[in-house]
């Protein structure tokens, strides 16, 4: 029965691939939970871990701040102009500011920041962790009495979350200023009107959802690359690109999932 054999073979391979995929998610969930618990444990924070957090924030947020700010400003200004012009064309000019703020500050900028950090720092973290495993550096650290989880990984997660939150805040503040200028021009007399519209957009549930979303993005851009890097087998250098590829695909999927869930919670 060669046809039956090949069917069994196909199903076996598919089943094994599915189990490996599910194991990856389980590993990710476990590492994410451990990272949150460790981050909330005061004993995690000592001189060494604080310095890794500082370095992570420097490389993830501070180093890219000028370029990222410029990019966010240009993109925000273009999108605000499109929204304002389109709203005017349809006679909805009074809603232009609210639409701009909703689109940019609540949706596009947090996602864009997470993608930016994920592609830049997430890929680097994934590669570094995979190389650490391949070259046995984790075991070497353990031998010297340094816990790699607390020294190498948790500070990266903390630094990554802080970086995503900080960059999103900078980009959002800039977008609000640009939206004001695009709608009202260079004058201060419309500030009360602007404040009223922004206050309507940022009601407590919207703020809570935005915080939760940005926090989830921050966790995703570090937890997923680290978790995938940790899954690399020791002494198998060829596996590093595969690990990064898997990490980036999983990261993209999770970022989109978080965005879709936040949209569903807000608008459905």
């Amino acid at each position: 029965m060669p046809a039956m054999d090949s069917l069994i073979d196909l199903l076996t391979r598919r089943g094994a691939a599915l189990l490996a995929w599910l194991r990856g998610w389980r590993r990710l969930g476990r590492f994410g939970a451990t990272a949150i618990v460790e981050a909330l444990t005061p004993a995690t924070y000592n001189s060494a871990t604080r310095s890794v957090v500082q370095k992570q924030i420097y490389f993830t947020a501070w180093q890219i701040l000028p370029g990222f700010t410029l990019f966010a400003a240009v993109l925000s200004y273009v999108l605000i102009q499109i929204v304002v012009d389109t709203a005017r064309d349809y006679g909805l000019a009074q809603h232009a500011l609210e639409m701009s703020v909703r689109i940019l500050v609540l949706e596009i900028l947090p996602l864009l920041t997470a993608l930016f950090v994920g592609l830049r720092s997430g890929a680097a973290i994934n590669t570094e962790v995979a190389l650490m495993i391949v070259h046995n550096e984790m075991k070497a650290l353990e031998e010297t009495g340094v816990d790699p989880m607390r020294f190498e990984f948790i500070p990266r997660v903390i630094g990554g979350v802080i970086s995503v939150v900080a960059l999103t805040a900078v980009a959002s503040a800039l977008a609000l200023v640009l939206a004001y200028v695009a709608v009202y021009g260079f004058q201060f007399f419309s500030l009360p009107e602007f404040n009223r519209v922004v206050g309507n957009v940022f009601d407590p549930p919207a703020i809570a959802l935005l915080w939760a979303k940005v926090f989830a993005f921050g966790l995703a851009v570090t937890v997923i690359p680290i978790s995938e890097g940790l899954a690399a087998p020791a002494d198998k250098l060829f596996f590093v690109p595969i690990s990064v590829l898997r990490g980036m695909v999983r990261l993209f999927f999770v970022l989109m999932l978080v965005e879709v869930i936040s949209l569903a919670l807000k608008y459905i």
Binding site: N46, S47, A140
Partner: protein, 145 residues
Amino acid sequence: MADDAARRTAIAAAHDADISLISDELPLRANLSVLENIAIVPQYRENLAYEVAADQAWALLVRLGRTDCAFKRDPDLTSEERFVAKLLRAVIRAPSIIIIDRPALLLPDCHYPPRVQATLDALDDKINECWIVDYPWNEPLYAPR
């Protein structure tokens, strides 16, 4: 002196928290300099400020006359510099026993027994006990005991 099975048994004890193992299979942290690799141990374990931990690491490098490699990273090190960095990373922790696993792998380009001994002598007051695990066929290389 030990065959491979005996060697593995001997170094298995190194997983004890109070024993430090120096081995070709336990590399330095690649993104840290030699100084940082040594300093990170007291900085993490004793919660010392980096400057204090780095001073301790620097003092050990001075003692061995190896400050020239303090700011190099692993790929830029000679095998001798790498050995010194690994040894000092173990010494700064002040374990009760230091095990050097197959020094020939750590110092492949020199007559290593006298070199290892000279380095250990320079750190005599910092090392409580040191075991060198090597193969029986390398026994003639060591000074008679």
